[in-house]
């Protein structure tokens, strides 16, 4: 199995390799669990979620362990994608045209590489907020080992943890909406891995053209 995307023979393009999809869904599944149990402890109105998921005590305990799973998944994503998520000079023009992207006037949007600048924002947003969530989460997990004279750490953690979580929720809402409803074909790409050539050329023109050049170079 290839470690890199490539052109498939049947007029399709492999967008996400098996490894990428597996890591994405490890992060996705653990994040959804963290979101649901986290919301249960965020508001008394949502405490019932923890009851439904097996009881509040088990939800509190598993929330921490799933946080570790999520952190590992984000770490693997960093390993796979950090290079491709680097900001490039072309990104500025893309952000300048964000209004057209939102209004589906895609012909007026600069062409995107494998990941467009919006996807890069999602990645780095989850990476940095995930890091802060991990650090503050460890403090919240073991408050008994934080001495009283450095309890500022605990006081910071109870504020940092929900703030970072809210930032990821904002990203998550947009990500799920775009991946399922807005960008037709995107959800299939992260399940089965492939997209049509027209899809690749429309949404990630620069990337697709590079794939074409690579494939002719190989021949």
């Amino acid at each position: 199995m290839s470690r890199e995307p490539y052109l498939l023979p049947n007029g399709r393009v492999l967008r996400y390799t098996f490894r990428e999809r597996l890591v994405h869904w490890s992060a996705g599944a653990s994040y959804v669990y963290l979101l649901l149990t986290g919301l249960a402890f965020w508001s008394p109105w949502l405490y019932w979620i923890a009851v439904v998921l097996g009881g509040p005590t088990i939800s509190r305990e598993l929330h921490a362990w799933f946080g570790l799973v999520f952190s590992v998944a984000v770490g693997l994503m960093y390993d796979m994608w950090a290079g491709q998520m680097k900001e490039t000079p072309a990104d500025k023009a893309w952000w300048a045209a964000i209004k057209h992207y939102i209004r589906n006037e895609d012909e007026q949007v600069p062409s995107a590489d494998r990941f467009n600048p919006g996807q890069k924002l999602l990645f780095w947003g989850f990476f940095w907020n995930g890091g802060l969530l991990l650090i503050s989460g460890l403090i919240l997990w073991f408050p008994q080992f934080i001495p009283w004279n450095v309890r500022a750490l605990r006081l910071a953690a109870v504020l940092v943890h929900p703030i970072c979580a809210l930032f990821t929720i904002a990203l998550f809402i947009i990500h799920v909406y775009m991946g399922t409803a807005m960008e037709r074909g995107a959800f299939g790409s992260v399940i089965r891995g492939d997209v049509s050539r027209a899809w690749a050329d429309t949404h990630h023109h620069t990337w697709y053209q590079q794939l074409l050049r690579n494939s002719t170079a190989r021949k």
Partner: protein
């Protein structure tokens, strides 16, 4: 509590005023600790363990009379000893019985996410219901007095102000055991009055011009109050905070952040839905007639 059930509000088929109407009974209870008459005998520590059924645990020795550094999940009542040097060079042994202060505005309760795990009764007692505790430890962060502690099963425990005894009209176990009478129990107003009288006595006749009562306003007052020889140096009494309050980070988290976050999450979900209604999906024309983005430029 037990008193509450005796006050009559209405009587069926009764002509005229309700007997006792207009009488304000005070239900707020209070423990008064007079540190100036405490001899550090630790009878209160033992009485607390006895009544609550905890075994006497291992103690630590650090060149002091103090049993252990701080209260524990199964050791709710601890006298804090401090060999305090006064400005004139003389030594004074300060002894303060440390336990849950039963705040009127409890930080533990504000921080707790678990339904019914912390209850504040009308008489002022703040009590933990361990069966509902989920072991998150947020109460430990919300408390300005470092009182709630995890048990090995990761449930938090602390002084109940002998809620079980008080609800039956008895005074707390520690009060019962005190041989010097430095511990008192009664209504909040009575204890406050007694404490102020004692503080005035210390100021007027005993050479403690800064003697005063510790009933911190930052947490809305407490249901355990102290008489101190020097109310201007509370920290000397085993780290008694001068101006305790619910930590500002806990207040920010539980008030503005919660409402900003709730608004943001709802606005986000509504926002993407409205976007879909207005602009719909990005559909790729598979016949190759779709113009590529940016190519026209």
């Amino acid at each position: 509590m037990s008193q509450a059930s005796t006050e009559i509000v209405r009587i069926s088929g009764h002509a005229g005023t309700v007997p006792g109407a207009g009488i304000n009974r005070e239900f707020q209870v209070c423990k008064l600790v007079d540190t100036t008459t405490c001899i550090g005998c630790k009878a209160c520590e033992v009485a607390c363990l006895e009544w609550n059924g905890y075994p006497f645990t291992a103690t630590s020795f650090a060149n002091s009379y103090q049993t252990m550094p701080e209260t524990a999940w199964n050791y709710w009542n601890l006298i804090k000893f401090n060999e305090h040097e006064r400005p004139d060079g003389t030594m004074m042994l300060l002894m303060r019985k440390d336990q849950c202060m039963h705040c009127e505005d409890p930080g533990c309760l504000a921080a707790c996410p678990a339904e019914a795990a912390i209850v504040q009764y009308a008489n002022g007692i703040v009590d933990f219901q361990e069966a509902h505790c989920i072991g998150c430890g947020y109460c430990m962060t919300g408390c300005p007095f470092n009182i709630p502690k995890f048990s090995p099963a990761r449930k938090v425990f602390k002084c109940t102000l002998c809620n079980d005894r008080v609800s039956q009209g008895l005074e707390p176990a520690c009060i019962k055991a005190c041989p010097t009478g430095c511990l008192h129990f009664g209504t909040k107003s009575e204890m406050k009055e007694l404490a102020e009288t004692r503080a005035k006595q210390l100021r007027d006749y005993s050479g403690f011009p800064d003697a005063g009562v510790y009933d911190p306003a930052g947490v809305g007052g407490t249901h355990v109050i102290y008489v101190l020889h020097d109310a201007k140096n509370t920290e000397a009494y085993g780290g008694l905070p001068e101006d305790p309050h619910i930590p500002w980070s806990v207040q920010l988290w539980k008030k503005p952040l919660k409402w900003i976050g709730n608004f943001g999450m709802i606005a986000g979900v509504v926002g993407v839905f409205v976007h879909y209604l207005r602009f719909g999906p990005k559909v790729v024309k598979e016949d190759g007639t779709q113009p590529s983005p940016g190519v026209s430029k």
